[in-house]
Symmetry: D2
Subunit: 140 residues, 4 copies
């Protein structure tokens, strides 16, 4: 996994670490950052103008095919963290989004990426909705 | 919530505490016992002969309407815990299941209950499947 | 569980439902509202002036002893929900907080309560920090 | 991420998919496989003779530094899945474990890896416990 380098439009979403997201080591459990990537992804799509909820209503689903994460520094309970999300690559049937989670001081906590493909409701891979491709192309 | 008292058939399911289920207090997070109740519920139904998966395939859904839990002693990472599940009450459109989670020494960790109603796929309350009522009646 | 009736200072926290919080029924899994209660609790304490993080740093822990929830209407992916949190009761070594989760139209989704006791780092029940009692007394 | 190829001792852990692990797509949420990797890791260590709980009691912590996962086929509620875990690489201060999650028919659902480093209780990187290195060396 090449280290993510922010580019194009970057969505920034701030959230506060929940107690339920910590583990017995006193830090955020490594699996708990993955839903934060998803929060970033959903807000990125909302920001460019096509909320994921709307994409689902149009009959498309986004299925994650690959995931990577590097853990640089831990987040802790009640920390405010910022999820930075941007489009790394788009192709006809899918895309890769990259993430950088930073703390309030700007220090990098976690970086990562997800690759996803677009399917119809029957689970068959299909082209990304044309509206989305247009919006993504404007942003990158 | 009256304290659960085991009766009738009791399903016993053993599971081991996952690290991901602990929190920064070094114990299992209180919300994490709730999916264990569900594991007990699913295994109770399997044991009496009608797996929940099959109930869903028949077009029924079980929707939780009320939940209660009392926390007596904490579970910790890697503990083996036993979930004891039994039917407290059944009525035409729903039922109440009760739970007792104990450790290997038999000490009570958590007790609780869930009330659920049966709906069809459109979310409308409906009678419990007749097969299930028959099986439950035999057990209680 | 008597139905919660809001009183005194009410903290309102808005959050958006994450995809990871839904289940195969297409709605938020019933266990997933419990960490939201916790988010409300943490923000209630912050709002009255004594963040839970600070309470922990002072050497106190809050341990949940009882939990109740009633499910009225389901939340769904991407819904904005409001968690309303207030103090129901405070006593020397613990308190009960009540919760009402509503949607943007004001409809009640879930109500509930948690009872907690205060312990020291060794897990022994102890009096609530005096500063907290003073702040809570002003609010109720 | 090179595709994991099982080698040396392989721990096989079977678990059944919980309803709480599914999402609104009707399949297991992609973040939910990550705690399963951890379950495999914990059981791998137990099987070779040094449970992770004991490692923690000796004053060592394992901190995840990198994670990768590829999603081949989805798991669904109530499926029995097998987590296959093996040591890919060990070095003085850490190791990489690889995972393959298969269904009962032997079909691959998810593959992945985690890299971890060993720290002391103060969070400083340190050598793996000598006992562990000896046990790992025998296995690989």
């Amino acid at each position: 996994m090449p280290h993510p380098k922010p580019k194009g439009r970057i969505n920034e979403t701030t959230l506060r670490v929940r107690y339920a997201e910590t583990d017995a080591m006193g830090i955020v459990h490594h699996s708990r950052y993955i839903p934060w990537f998803e929060v970033g992804r959903v807000n990125f799509l909302r920001e460019i103008g096509l909320p994921y909820k709307q994409i689902e209503e149009m009959g498309f689903l986004f299925v994650i095919t690959e995931l990577g994460a590097r853990y640089h520094n831990p987040a802790r309970f009640d920390d405010a963290v910022i999820i930075r999300t941007w489009l790394e690559k788009v192709h006809s049937r899918g895309m890769r989004l990259d993430y950088q989670i930073i703390d309030e001081a700007g220090e990098t906590l976690v970086t990562g990426f997800t690759k996803l493909i677009c399917t119809n409701r029957q689970g068959q891979p299909t082209r990304l909705p044309a509206d989305l491709v247009r919006l993504l192309t404007n942003e990158s």
